[in-house]
Subunit: 455 residues, 2 copies
């Protein structure tokens, strides 16, 4: 056995698979994919064109095809489900756990979604799906699956094992068995290990752990992720407002969520608008990148207007131009540092966090310290090394101090305000805010210069 | 039961706990913490001062104290272990799984580490720990635990359950049972679900799944995380060069690793040097933030030199100064976009990725498209809206084009080069590179201007 089973996942295999599809060598296709991990097959289908991918999916068993569908890139997935007949897609969705089914159905227009649901074989599954579709996609309710094992506290170990046997087909992975009372209220959990090590007639009520962390359906997915990380959970039960057990979230879904969200944050910070990868076409990538670049350019052009406004003063004191990049870069750096510290704190949500006011005061003090250090440093270099007169050094130093203060203020307040309005605070490090900071910095710089140098 | 058990975790409780410690009300302390989750207790101890935290730890049972120690912030943890006697610490480490023990021991100077290990009660544990200490902290070997359940393929279900019973104390969470041959070669896995649902005399060799993903000890932790995410694994076995099973990595450790690494990347991008939180003191935060700001400032001062060099030309054509921020900001934005796309691709490591050369050509084409669009746009605004002569518009437009090309090139090549040398490519979006890009951009801008405007 190889340390990592990535079977024949290679460009060469991809080529031979393409040929196999071309000449409809179905035997080669199915045999070469047999035993491969569904995530690997999905990675291959992502590389094929739509017709080829659908051709392969139709050759495989519904349960394998269903597992592959879940693992496809969102781009490929949307194309594939648009191409399939409602009945055909329903046959695959019949093989999925409810949360995966919902992840796919949510990508369809509601009319077609209803079509697919009407074709589902199991009444229970379509009820579960309709139930899950009510929740926000990124809330605990939207992340949870309705398939899990629960045991009544009055059962014994044998009855519980019977329930596991009954549900074994539907529930792929069992981490814990949730224990409920007669009214379905969540009481606690019992591990499979405990079940195995207890005698058959042991009552569940004697062995379950009542200390259990659960999350409400409305909790934000990011918060669920942080709870699962903090408490080392591999699955967490979801309860409704009446503390009735309605679903469970597993750690694999959380890993996907974390990855998605870190990509989104990165996107917010770099201003790349659409969900692109390096393998996309030149024009798709250019199109996704241009909007931010244009915002930055428009900001730069407005900056040119601001500087133009001070042109008279500038022509009298041409050296002022030399320090424009210094002021602009420092403002940008201070702003990004401040906002990312705030974003980090917002993400970790501790009860011991300072209040907004304390945070503001502290940010101000840090800005004052940094501003004094940097302002003094710049003053010293400008006067003693570059040999300018001291009033000019004072101008640049004071402008630095003001810009540091201003950028810290903007960098601290902007993410807090965004967060208050329910907007991802990471965009505070993105295009709009950065550009606005640059412009403010320029205005402050020239304002200080015009005043001190009496231009 | 509350939807989330965060017991009395509040500022008020923290105050009353402090009082309890002051007046040595041990009964209040132990009773109020009883049943609380260890992660919550750790969060409280992080808020206490060192003497208070140690006082509480010593009141609790060794197994609870050990669990809390693992969950402490690294800052607090280092202080606590420095304060404890070697024998006292050894008593706690005796209660931990080997990977957690190593995470703590690695923080100590090697002399003291040996002291602690010499006090350990279990010979097997100290052997395991010494073994794990050989691996790089962030490799699969450094992340794995030596505690896991393995079954010989020739055993039956009853023998396997016996083994689980024997190891139950040592192995906190059981996800899978790994199946080995007589020489300890990894053959596959069998789930607890399968064990429960099989009759007592079933042979393991008849029920285990041979399709199993394992990782080699030397694999980088980030890669392990990506494999566990991609294949939806809650634990992964680790094998040595001879495919012998030597450990297992669980998903909770991976969640911690992902968080640590995303914080590190953020740090690399924002240039905040030490591991700080918003709750740290004003001077600690200032000190951590100043180094990058200083790099930026020094870069800005060098920029002033560059511009000063062109001062004669600038005084003839004062409007050139107005467009300095435009050029600098665009260069910065293009550079960050390019490098973060490359970093994202490097992190996902697919076999279908383009080669470095293809990537380079593609990056160049994207840069040309973006450069033409932005250059033309700027030319049009400068000439038709701002009313400058067209040779000046051409100068600014062409300078934009060159800066976009240059920044794309630097943004693409830098992370690739860093990655080749085993350095975290995320720092390509950080202080040094950004500053270097700014300077290059300025030089290009004035170079183009001096040439076209014949200054």
């Amino acid at each position: 056995m190889e340390p990592i089973k990535s079977f024949e996942l290679s460009k060469e295999y991809l080529e031979s698979l393409r040929e196999g599809i071309e000449i409809q060598d179905n035997q080669f296709i199915t045999e070469s994919l047999e035993g491969a991990n569904v995530a690997d097959i999905a990675a291959i289908l992502d590389e094929l064109n739509l017709d080829e991918a659908i051709y392969v999916l139709r050759l495989l068993s519904p349960s394998t095809a269903a597992d592959i569908l879940i693992e496809l890139d969102e781009d490929s997935l949307i194309k594939v489900i648009r191409e399939m007949e409602a009945s055909e897609l329903a046959a695959l969705i019949d093989q999925m756990e409810s949360d995966d089914a919902v992840d796919i159905l949510i990508l369809m227009p509601s009319k077609e979604r209803e079509d697919v649901i009407s074709y589902l074989q199991e009444k229970e599954k379509s009820a579960n799906i309709l139930d899950l579709l009510r929740y926000d996609e990124y809330s605990a309710g939207g992340l949870m699956a309705k398939e899990f094992i629960k045991a009544n506290q009055n059962w014994n170990v044998v009855q519980t094992i019977e329930e596991i046997r009954r549900q074994a087909e539907k529930v792929e992975k069992i981490y814990s068995i949730y224990v409920v009372d007669n009214k379905q209220h969540l009481l606690g959990r019992v591990s499979l290990k405990k079940i195995i090590l207890s005698s058959s007639d042991t009552k569940i009520s004697d062995i379950y752990e009542p200390e259990l962390i659960s999350v409400p359906t409305h909790m934000d997915g990011e918060e669920v992720a942080e709870i699962m990380r903090k408490y080392d959970l591999e699955s967490v039960p979801v309860v409704n407002a009446k503390n009735k057990l309605v679903g469970r979230i597993t750690v694999d879904d959380i890993l996907d969520l974390i990855r998605e969200q870190s990509e989104e944050d990165m996107q917010a910070m770099t201003g790349i608008s659409a969900d692109i990868e390096e393998s996309d076409s030149v024009f798709k990538i250019s199109k996704a990148r241009l909007p931010w670049l244009l915002i930055g350019v428009i900001g730069g052009l407005m900056g040119a207007q601001i500087i133009g406004f001070f042109e008279d003063g500038l022509s009298k004191y041409i050296a002022l131009a030399s320090f424009i990049p210094l002021v602009a870069a420092t403002g940008g750096n201070v702003g990004i540092q401040s906002s990312s510290l705030v974003v980090q704190t917002l993400a970790s949500k501790s009860v011991f966090n300072d209040t907004a006011w304390q945070r503001f005061i502290k940010g101000l003090m840090i800005a004052v310290v940094n501003g004094i250090v940097l302002g003094t440093f710049v003053f010293a270099v400008v006067v003693f090394i570059y040999g300018f007169e001291s009033i000019f050094g004072l101008t640049i130093g004071l402008a630095m101090f003001c810009v540091v203060l201003l950028a810290s203020f903007m960098g601290t307040v902007t993410p807090l305000v965004l967060d208050k309005f329910g907007i991802n605070p990471a965009i505070a490090s993105g295009p709009f805010i950065t550009t606005a900071n640059d412009l403010l910095g320029l205005a402050v710089y020239f304002g200080v210069a015009m005043t001190l140098l009496k231009l």
